[in-house]
Symmetry: C2
Subunit: 476 residues, 2 copies
């Protein structure tokens, strides 16, 4: 089915289009402002997030919840006015969390709240018991000798900084993505990390970890912050601290999932795609309200508003609900591979995967020639209290594969100050989502999308001058 | 051993004491102010709370943690300068939480975060599955007919109000203490309640429930607030909602625990006791930092400061660390029964069991003749920003048995605005305790205790004019 869509779009790309001025017209900016105000008054993205949370719930890639989510999306999108809705089959790894039990056995026995990190192996049936060696940070572990680590359970106690732009996360997540591998290389029998995140509530954080080529996988866990505190207090007494770890986590055979690709076909440039990305999957611990039911809700509501306009956008507005962002970006890779093969033209991408905090800036990663367009977009956003931005965004995880192929990006920055209090925990639930803030976000995304889909200017290519992120630290 | 103590105190009560003025002397108020300032500068109650949390952890009455807590207390009190430390054996009920699993099975399957309520029975081995009937409040359930309830799982969705003085709790807790009994009377097969508490975090709240005479016990659970929201959203669609509940909770044979009774003997009126109460036990879900390691820490630190004074207090200052406040007040009843039998004279009581929030007022429940003394105490507290109070306190749970026997009370009011966010959940951990706020509390308790233990005035009897609380709503 996807091939059919690609064929259709490829066909359209042969048609000629009239060249016009290089900046958004006053009329277009007025339309965008109208759409912004309409969204602010009437849009209801919360309803979509509530439906996905309530009628699907947890939806880890490869699970029955994931299949339910795909079915939900195909049925739910009926009311949104899309011209086409097509599922693209994606093969995803499947993993079962099973049970986990963590406890200190000496010097002072204490049960601990912790979870297995995503995709990691379980323990032997009678668990693992070993002495703990604590490191302040991943860097301290990297500087340690095997003699210190061998036969121990490595405890990486690094804390994460709370920031509005979420930058604390990419720094902190390295201990999760690489820490267990570094520990295993030095002979550790298991790894526990202080949960990535900013909360001191008693929730443990999940997320994938990866072992470097040739490194033996070991069980890896995250402790809730108060439990990391407890372990640290016992270690600080100077006594030998023993941990007992048990987990039945295991890989399952790969499973089928799907990207959902839904188009509002462009009236004059249907071959030019403005892509709105959000991932449909979630971790298994919660209903994934902010990660990422609200992202799904925002892009769907933007599409609904655009489909309801009197005239169709000039360019095609495509919503992609991606499969398995959380545990491997399989949906992102599958979509981009097919798109590149088909020579599809994505003029610009916008991704919603940064929670439901208030939008405060518009960043971009566009060619210099398009900066006046971005500036004009900021003008339309100004009445929402959204101010400024730079041209150095790296965007979100799902659009990173298209970005790496040169696609430029726009990014509406959500205030992430409290996002990492709930992210990847059982506590990512709908009650933390403010419908008004979500409406404000939809207004911003809709205005920006409408301009992107109608401006005659091209957005150029993703700038080569944006500094790369440390690939080890990239986390989803 | 307790008998020996009683004998000793009874002996002292025969000695005569000089009668002096009816109000605290300037010198006594100066001493109290000195103690207040010393405590504010130097006291370290947090260390005691950290020790109990770290070296004992959860300590539900009758559990191994409870025995460890008693042993901890007897060892730890060595450094506090008490003249005598005596354990009073108390028989307590023992209960094992076991496992619990709660899920919606129709129309949209969802796992739910919930816990068994304290002391309740488990389910059959294959669980209970039944349709849900939701009630907005306990009152609505009480107004319901058996026809509506029979064969159903009753869901009491009542919310709790956040208040500084904690008064929202006594209103909300009735759904826990009586709700399951009321549901069973009407033919329900099980009960789930929205957790008592003010948090929307995904923590479920425990606490005991009791079945009225002749009413068949049924399994009773509490759902975390986001899970109560989820259940309510599914019910609101008008579809039949099925719940599956599983629990291995069970009663164990009664066990031995102990009150720890520790005295600083009075220099001139050793037979007159100023009692400082706090319970040593906790629920099993957490280390019970605010409920009640901090209460234990406050009264111990007050005693330490008083024992270190150059002169002993005129009256005996007695710390009682009570057994099993949480699941039945057994320690309180045992202590009071023995005290009444021995004719002990408790001139006034102060209890620390309201968390670690900032102290903002001094309430009392004393004879009218003692109100000038309370007013003088307020004068010493004023520099701490502690202002006002009334003479209508009902005090805490452990001293309620002495109060019912006529003992007057003083009560330092802690700001409880956030206390019920963590109370009786896994999230009651040490990181939420501010050492500075705790030091401020110790300063207040110490100043009040010093005056109470040295003023020549008597505090009279607990006033009969204080309105009784609804016994069904009294919760611990």
């Amino acid at each position: 089915m996807y091939r059919r869509l690609i064929a259709a779009l490829t066909l359209f790309s042969l048609s000629a289009s009239p060249a016009v001025t290089a900046e958004p017209s006053e009329a277009l900016l007025r339309e965008a402002a109208e759409l912004r105000d309409l969204a602010l008054a009437e849009s209801d993205a919360w309803r979509h997030a509530a439906s996905l949370s309530t009628e699907v719930g947890p939806r880890l890639a490869g699970s029955s919840g994931d299949r339910a989510a795909v079915a939900w999306a195909l049925a739910y999108l009926d009311g949104f006015g899309f011209d086409t809705v097509i599922p693209q089959t994606v093969t995803v790894p499947a993993w079962e969390r099973g049970e986990a039990e963590l406890r200190i056995t000496a010097p002072w026995p204490q049960p601990l709240v912790g979870v297995s990190l995503g995709l990691t192996i379980g323990t032997p049936a009678d668990g693992i018991e070993a002495p703990v060696v604590r490191f302040e940070s991943l860097a301290a572990l990297e500087a340690a000798t095997s003699a210190m680590v061998r036969g121990h359970i490595v405890f990486i106690d690094e804390k994460m900084e709370r920031t509005r732009d979420g930058s604390g996360y990419s720094a902190a997540v390295a201990k999760r993505s690489r820490g267990p591998s570094v520990a295993s290389e030095r002979g550790a029998v298991a790894t526990v990390i202080r949960s990535v995140g900013t909360s001191s509530e008693r929730f443990a954080y999940t997320g994938t970890t990866r072992f470097a080529e040739g490194v033996r996988p070991i069980p890896a866990f995250a402790l809730a912050a108060p439990d990391a505190d407890m372990l640290a207090r016992q270690v600080a007494t100077g006594r030998d601290v023993l941990l007992h770890l048990y987990s039945t986590a295991r890989q399952l055979p790969p499973a089928r999932s799907a990207n959902i690709i839904a188009d509002i076909q462009g009236a004059t440039h249907p071959e030019e795609i403005v892509i709105l990305g959000a991932h449909l999957d979630s971790w298994d611990l919660s209903t994934g309200a902010q990660d990422n039911a609200t992202g799904v809700a925002i892009v769907l509501e933007v599409a609904r508003l655009i489909a309801a306009r009197e005239r169709a956008p000039a360019r095609t507005v495509r919503v992609v609900l991606y499969a398995n962002e959380e545990a491997g970006l399989d949906g992102s890779r599958a979509y981009t591979a097919a798109a590149l093969e088909a020579g599809l033209r994505h003029v610009i991408g916008l991704e919603a995967d940064a929670g439901a905090g208030r939008v405060y800036a518009l960043n971009s990663g566009v060619g210099e020639e398009a900066l006046p367009v971005v500036e004009a977009m900021r003008g339309v956003l100004a009445p929402l209290g959204i101010a400024g931005g730079d041209n150095a965004t790296r965007g979100g995880a799902d659009l990173s594969t298209l970005r790496d192929a040169g696609m430029p990006l726009l990014r509406l920055e959500h205030d992430m100050s409290t996002y990492f209090d709930v992210h990847h925990t059982v506590n990512d639930t709908l009650d933390k989502v403010d419908p008004e803030t979500l409406r404000h976000a939809v207004a911003a995304y809709a205005a920006v999308t409408w301009i992107a889909a109608n401006v005659e200017e091209d957005f150029g290519a993703y700038p080569e001058t944006v500094p790369p992120v440390d690939p080890a630290a990239s986390g989803n």
